[in-house]
């Protein structure tokens, strides 16, 4: 009787452990919650139109993931201000450009950083001065239909 109880308790313990591990994996790995205060450099960029960018979207340089979007908010001029968390030790020159790109035709949107040529480097909390907004499919279609994007703007 005692040993069967012990076996049962062991089974319950293993079950609880498995379940908690599953919840932990979902929360930490897939849900992306980090227990430690997130390490890295915070940088900002302001865009006219962020399209479908959302928090946790990746930030890439030459296709390599170097960070992610932490928060998106409207600034005082009613433009979208994106807060990014980039890998520690990343050295970016002051004329680095941030552009919103799409992976594939309909894929997720991400921020592509294009390193510049200046010697001076950006530091923690700095703002990217050169930005390029998301491509708007409506504008693209308009451009194709009306011959060029400029004509389309005149119609408006």
């Amino acid at each position: 009787m005692q040993s069967s109880n012990a076996m049962r308790d062991l089974a319950v313990g293993i079950f609880a452990l498995l379940g908690l591990l599953a919840i932990g994996y979902l929360t930490l790995q897939i849900g992306g919650v980090s227990l430690r205060p997130s390490e890295g450099i915070v940088m900002f960029a302001t865009f006219d139109d962020i399209g479908g960018l959302s928090s946790r979207s990746p930030v890439r340089i030459a296709g390599v993931k170097v960070g992610r979007v932490e928060a998106i908010e409207l600034d005082d001029d009613l433009r979208a201000r994106v807060r990014m968390l980039l890998d520690q030790g990343l050295e970016l020159s002051v004329d680095t450009a941030a552009a919103i790109r799409t992976s594939g035709l309909l894929g997720d949107q991400f921020i592509a950083l294009e390193p510049g040529a200046e010697d001076e480097l950006l530091g923690n909390g700095d703002v990217f001065s050169f930005t390029e907004s998301a491509w708007n499919v409506d504008a693209l279609v308009g451009a194709v239909v009306h011959g060029s994007a400029d004509d389309d703007e005149k119609d408006d």
Binding site: I30, S55, R56, D108
Partner: protein, 258 residues
């Protein structure tokens, strides 16, 4: 005409009265959690019955649902050239809806019905009355451990179900259909949020567990004390709990506002 209205009134009163009884029963269970002596060993035994023994069913069902999702969504998404988003589609549907709801329904059939049948046959064979004769509260001794066990087991089983589903869809999408493993995992991790998705999933499964614990023990505790009554109570547990879980799922989704 008067008779018809009187009938309606009687039914309404009976409905409200039944609801009130269940609420009081639920309150008694909550009170029993804090009564001495603590019945922690009974809770463990009940977790073994409802949780550990459901594990094989949950793992197999989770993996199968993952296979099906992987296959169906891959075919649909690839029509739009968006098969890269398989991870997003699988992850969000499993974590937000399918995981908690299917686990809830499976556990209802596997463990909820057994709980009702067990308590019901205890009542039919006058074991609950026997406990009362010995001044032992059957709610504290029999009902509370089983209700608490279902509430604890449900979120654990649901999380395991979700992981097996994600793994199943990975097997189909990546290993069989040749999707890039990195794009599956990164689209999954990029689109799943903690607060909107994982927390919602956990809250849902805890609520479903409590609902099932309450309904299964109440149906057993209040069944008519004979073989036919136990069988009716068991059927009624499965039907009521399933409908309640689906309704609660809709309500929680709407309240979450996502």
């Amino acid at each position: 005409m008067i008779g018809w209205i009187r009938e309606l009134g009687a039914r309404t009163t009976a409905g409200v009265e039944a609801l009130g009884r269940i609420v009081v029963f639920g309150a008694l269970i909550v009170r029993a959690i804090f009564l001495r002596p603590s019945r922690i060993r009974f809770v463990l035994a009940a977790i073994f019955d409802s949780g550990v023994l459901s594990l094989a069913l949950i793992c197999a069902s989770g993996a199968t649902v993952g296979f099906v999702l992987g296959l169906q969504l891959y075919n649909t998404l690839s029509r739009f050239g968006a098969e890269e988003s398989l991870g997003t589609a699988v992850g969000l549907s499993l974590i937000r809806e399918l995981g908690p709801v299917l686990t809830g329904l499976l556990v209802t059939g596997r463990a909820g019905s057994a709980t009702t049948a067990e308590i019901g046959s205890m009542k039919a064979t006058e074991q609950l009355d026997g406990l009362r004769m010995m001044a032992i509260d059957p709610i504290h001794f029999v009902v509370m451990p089983r209700a608490v066990a279902l509430s604890i087991a449900m979120p654990l089983l649901s999380a395991i179900f979700v992981l097996f589903g994600i793994f199943g869809a990975y097997l189909i999408g990546v290993e069989m259909l040749g999707l890039d493993s990195g794009s599956y995992v990164s689209s999954l991790e990029n689109s799943v949020e903690f607060r909107d998705d994982v927390l919602q999933s956990l809250v849902k499964s805890v609520v479903f567990g409590m609902l099932l614990g309450l309904i299964a023990t109440w149906r057993g505790y209040s069944c008519e004390p004979h073989a036919k009554g136990v069988s009716r109570a068991t059927t009624s547990t499965v039907v009521t709990a399933s409908v309640c879980i689906l309704l609660a799922d809709y309500t929680l989704t709407a309240l979450w506002g996502v």
